[in-house]
């Protein structure tokens, strides 16, 4: 797991992981790259990460992948990432094609739903929490009246 301040150097990261895949004698290497889109009046997106829980989340996925003979990789930006730059890369390295295709889907979807990362639109230099696009994590709401 790699965290970077600001935009990711996708070329460098993907090249390095690709070499790792070849060195592991794995035939399938899939990457998912998240790029900041121009939308509304956004100048950039900005991210907060709570690293201790993200690390546990990732280690749990590493175990899951290992049980299928695969490896997962992840890189994410902290702070501001301007439009057109990349904030997120996840990857699966696997000897088997099917395992790789299935894992990347589950890994990216679970990342979206449960990785402790908060996203903000940057508009006129101000951070605005992307509330509508955010997802309550597994187990959310237990502190509410209805959660009891």
């Amino acid at each position: 797991m790699e965290l970077y301040s600001g935009p990711l150097n996708v070329d460098e990261i993907v090249s390095r992981w690709h070499k790792e895949a070849a060195a592991q004698n794995c035939g399938a290497f899939i990457t998912f790259v998240g790029i900041i889109r121009k939308e509304n009046k956004i100048e950039a997106l900005s991210f907060d990460i709570y690293e201790p829980i993200l690390k546990k989340w990732f280690e749990n996925w590493q175990q899951k992948a290992k049980a299928k003979g695969a490896t997962v990789k992840m890189a994410h930006a902290v702070g501001d990432v301007p439009i057109g730059k990349s904030s997120y890369i996840s990857a699966v390295i696997s000897p088997k094609r099917r395992v790789a295709l299935e894992l990347i889907d589950e890994f990216v979807e679970d990342f979206k739903a449960n990785a402790p990362i908060w996203k903000y639109d940057v508009i006129e230099g101000k951070r605005v929490y992307a509330k509508e696009r955010s997802t309550p994590m597994n187990g959310a709401g237990i502190l509410s009246r209805s959660g009891q």
């Binding site: 998240g34 991210f47 907060d48 990460i49 709570y50 201790p52 829980i53 546990k56 994410h76 904030s87 997120y88 990216v108 990342f111 979206k112 739903a113 449960n114 990785a115 402790p116 990362i117 908060w118 996203k119 903000y120 929490y129 992307a130 509330k131 696009r133 955010s134 997802t135 309550p136 994590m137 597994n138 187990g139 959310a140 709401g141 237990i142 502190l143 509410s144 009246r145 209805s146 959660g147 009891q148």
Partner: protein
């Protein structure tokens, strides 16, 4: 004492509470106008492990994190 920290967009400094279960924390948050809303959609971790049992007992020195809705990527 239990330390409670609010992550991401919850604009609130950490607080120290004299509570012994998540249930007591829930009661505390429901009394606070601002926190009540976050209680609805936040997950909870104790010492960096996600907990989903409201009966979970807290002990002196525990650190509780409130995790609002996420959107990585």
């Amino acid at each position: 004492m239990v330390k409670v920290e609010f992550l991401g967009p919850i604009a609130k400094e950490p607080i120290e509470l004299d509570i012994s279960s998540l249930k007591e924390l829930a009661e505390f948050m429901q009394k606070d106008k601002d926190l009540k809303e976050w209680a609805e959609n936040s997950a909870v971790a104790v010492n960096d492990t996600i907990v989903s049992d409201i009966e979970y007992k807290l002990k002196n020195g525990d650190r509780v994190s409130i995790l609002p809705p996420v959107c990585g990527g």
